[in-house]
Every structure is written in structure tokens, then in C-alpha cells.
């Protein structure tokens, strides 16, 4: 088959929107760290954009490329009662190759932390649907941290992570189209990298994995 023809029909097919279904990430980690260290890590809301993992990087054919990165994480404290807290966190992501901020995934999270006792807490974050958001229709992050997690070794702290992501079909297609526009002959490759189902799942899974590695 003529290789130019092969690439030319791949390109339009690759930018057709597919249904972005809700995806769930469920993980359990055991870390050699105290519960307070985990709490500090997960509540450094204003530092999210500068922490390891804020860019989702892939190695491809010997090159390292940032597919998407967090460029903004701003927090406002809503309330604090003892060790419990509630914050609003504004997050903006920049997809590779895209300078037009109209198609940057962005969302406001309402994050609450509630301590059960001195050695365990829960953090719950939820996308605020009544406020500006793009790329996602819904996002919930539920983290359960226990210093005496029976599934971990005696000195380890258990972290149970459950993330539910619902992408917006139309907006993900717009993001993909904006990314492919400047890509030239790399368009089919970039299209393969931007799997709609994996787009946000990979990002969130990677960021939490990288954060947990720093403990």
C-alpha cells in the first residue's frame, strides 16, 4: 500500500470523537512513612503544579516527551477545624503542542480532609460542576490513609486511592484536534498517544504514583 495514502486516511479517522466513558482508578499502596508525612504531601495544594509527576512524560523512540502538564494549581482555604480542613483548588493542564488556552483541561476541586483519629484520615476531592471546567464532566478523588493498615507491614502506612473520571467527549475531541494541528507527519503517532479513555486516566494515575514515590 502507498505509505502516503496510509498516513492520509489515518489522520481524519484519528480525530473522530469516541465515547469518553467514566473510568475508575483503584489502587492500594503501602509506604514506609508516617501518616503526617502523607497528609502533608496530599495537602500541598498550591505546590501541585511544581511537584514530581505534574507533567505526564512518555519515552518514545529514545525521546522523552511531556504529553500533558499541570501549569497552575491555586488553593483557597475554606475552613479549618483542628486537623480537619476544606480547600478549593483550581487546576489547569496544558496538553503538548497547544498554546491556545481555550482547550486547556481545567477544573475547580473542593477538597476536604477529615481525621478519624491520630493515625488515619480521609481526603475527598470533587469537581465543582457549577464552576468553570473543561475536558472533564466529573472528577472525584477519595483517599483513605491509615498508619496501621492491616494489609501493610507493621511499620508501613496504607494509602487506598479511588479516582473516578468522566471526560467530556466533545471537549476531548477538541483538545485532540488542537494537538494534532501542528503535528505534521507525527499526527498518527500523537493520535495513538492521545487515547480518549487513557487521556486523563494516565495523567492522574501517574501523578499519584510519582507523589507516593517521594514518601
Amino acid at each position: 500500500m502507498n505509505k502516503t495514502l496510509l498516513l492520509s486516511w489515518l489522520l481524519p479517522l484519528s480525530i473522530l470523537a469516541t465515547d469518553a466513558r467514566a473510568v475508575e482508578i483503584a489502587e492500594h499502596h503501602c509506604v514506609d512513612a508516617r501518616v503526617n508525612a502523607v497528609h502533608t504531601l496530599f495537602t500541598r495544594y498550591s505546590d501541585y503544579a511544581t511537584m514530581p509527576g505534574s507533567a505526564y512524560t512518555v519515552g518514545l523512540a529514545g525521546a522523552k516527551i511531556d504529553l500533558i502538564k499541570m501549569i497552575k494549581s491555586q488553593a483557597k482555604k475554606v475552613s479549618e477545624t483542628g486537623r480537619d480542613s476544606k480547600n478549593l483548588v483550581w487546576v489547569v493542564l496544558q496538553p503538548a503542542l497547544v498554546e491556545d488556552s481555550k482547550v486547556y483541561p481545567r477544573f475547580l476541586l473542593d477538597c476536604s480532609v477529615a481525621w478519624s483519629d491520630l493515625t488515619s484520615f480521609k481526603q475527598n476531592c470533587a469537581l465543582q460542576k457549577e464552576k468553570q471546567h473543561y475536558g472533564l464532566d466529573d472528577l472525584t478523588i477519595a483517599i483513605d490513609v491509615k498508619e496501621q493498615d492491616s494489609s501493610c507491614k507493621h511499620h508501613e502506612t496504607g494509602i487506598r486511592l479511588r479516582i473516578n473520571i468522566t471526560g467530556n467527549n466533545k471537549e476531548i475531541a477538541e483538545i485532540k484536534k488542537a494537538t494534532l494541528a501542528p503535528a505534521g507527519v507525527l499526527a498518527p503517532l500523537i493520535s495513538a498517544l492521545f487515547d480518549e479513555d487513557a487521556f486523563f486516566r494516565n495523567y492522574f494515575r501517574n501523578i499519584y504514583d510519582e507523589w507516593i514515590k517521594t514518601l
Binding site: A26, L60, A61, K72, Q74, R160, E171, V185, L186, P188
Partner: protein
Amino acid sequence: MKTKSTLIALTVCLSVSACGVATTANSHLGNLDQTSQKMLDELKSSREQLEVATRQSERIADALVALKDLGFDLVKMLQSTFAPKPSGQTDNIDDVLNQTQEVPRE
């Protein structure tokens, strides 16, 4: 009568004990059920991730082969194409919070 009432008392006592044991057993079974469900959820999530990753890897491999066949210097091309781009202007958190309603979406 005394024997009968003693027997009744004993039976009630045993029933209550049995109920207590049954309740404890049910509670343990409930906990096991919850633990199993959590494990199943995590396994399901891992399997879905593996399916997505496999599908994605196949598509990437196909695209890489096509490009290689065309003779492109992939590394140089990737590095040049994916060089960091300046980011466009975006709202700050105060702007977002002050917006009285969500910006209309098409």
C-alpha cells in the same frame, strides 16, 4: 415447675448466646465481604488499565513502524515537535470563584 423454668431460662440464655455468636459471625462475614469487594474493584480497575495500555501500545507501534518506513529521524523530529511551548493565559482561582455562573459551554 422449677425444672421447666430452669430449662426455659437455659434455652433463652443459649439462644441469646447463639444470637451473639451469630451476630459476631455475621459481622466478620460482612467485613470479609467488604474486603473481597474492594479487592475485586481493584482487580477490575487494573484489568481495564491493562486493556487500554495494550490497545494504545499497538496503535503507537503501528504508527512508529509507518514513520520509520518513511525514513524519518524520529528522535530529532519528536524532540523538535515536543519542545516546550509557552502557555496561553488562563483564569486565576479568584476569577473562577467570582464567576456567578459557569461560562456557557456549547
